[in-house]
Amino acid sequence: MNASNTSSNMADVNRVAYGAEFVGDLATANDIRIDGKFDGRLYCEGRLVVGEKAVIKGDIFGTDIDFSGTMTGGNIYTRETLSLKGGCSVHGDLYFQRFQVELDAKFTGSCKVLEEGEYAKIAAPVAALLK
């Protein structure tokens, strides 16, 4: 079946497909793409892409985040660049080094630039899952 016949590059990307629901904590050294529902804490050392149909509840941590989905509750912590895409809807606070917002991105909450080392400190409890 095709799930086992993909290139090694694709295999490194975690995916929560549309129609799937993850409840709990996830930590990864790779990239993640979410098109389904995620309820819990998410830690990503690579790029985190949240698709248009995605619904997220809970804190998410990523090195770079492209957010096009819906965040119903929880904060977004970004080590480097956070990008809120047009059509996204976020209720929660944003933490980042660099920040980019497209026209038509809906956002309710506050923004804060993270200081050196602050990200690692906040993310530590979720990152511990990788050990």
């Binding site: 079946m1 095709n2 799930a3 086992s4 993909t6 694709m10 295999a11 490194d12 990307v13 975690n14 995916r15 929560v16 497909a17 549309y18 129609g19 799937a20 629901e21 993850f22 409840v23 709990g24 904590d25 996830l26 930590a27 990864t28 050294a29 790779n30 098109d35 389904g36 529902k37 309820d39 819990g40 619904v55 509840k57 119903t72 509750g73 209720h91 309710t108 899952l129 990788l130």
Partner: protein
């Protein structure tokens, strides 16, 4: 065509750990660590590097990884691949085992009624909290505050 199929496959890659519950109508591939309960209406493919702890309830399962503890329930075909290690019970309709698959646990054939009972017990508890009405209520709350 392949791309659309690919999008429906959820994936926990190597170098990833997940703890909790997954419910999906599609297929799922696991190469990383999974701890909790998995309920899928599709196929689970657990790769050689996969480590699974907990209950798995799926339509079809191809298992090449390691299960440390838990139970596998399969509505149709369970395929235990060469090199896999299963420490736990397996329930299935049809079973296929390759040479060099290691199983430490009970094997039990499952009929459709039994499987549906187990699947229904597992799924509703997790589906309810994320059901659509609950979320719209929350959005309304926030909108009310803004006004």
């Amino acid at each position: 065509m392949e791309n659309t199929n690919l999008n429906e496959v959820s994936r926990i890659s190597a170098g990833t750990a997940f703890k909790g519950e997954i419910i999906t109508s599609g297929d799922i591939r696991i190469d990383g660590k999974f701890d909790g309960r998995l309920s899928s209406k599709g196929r689970l493919v657990a790769g050689e590097s996969a480590q699974v702890n907990g209950d798995v309830i799926c339509q079809n399962v191809d298992f090449s990884g390691k299960m440390n503890k838990g139970t596998i329930y399969v509505a149709d075909t369970l395929s235990l691949k060469s090199g896999c290690v299963v420490n736990g019970d397996v329930h299935y309709k049809r079973l296929q085992v390759e040479l060099d698959a290691k199983i430490n646990g009970n094997l039990k054939a499952l009929d459709e009624a039994e499987f549906n009972k187990i699947a229904n017990q597992a799924a509703p508890a997790a589906v309810k909290p994320a059901a659509a009405p609950a979320q719209t209520e929350k959005k309304d709350d926030v909108a009310g505050k803004e006004n």
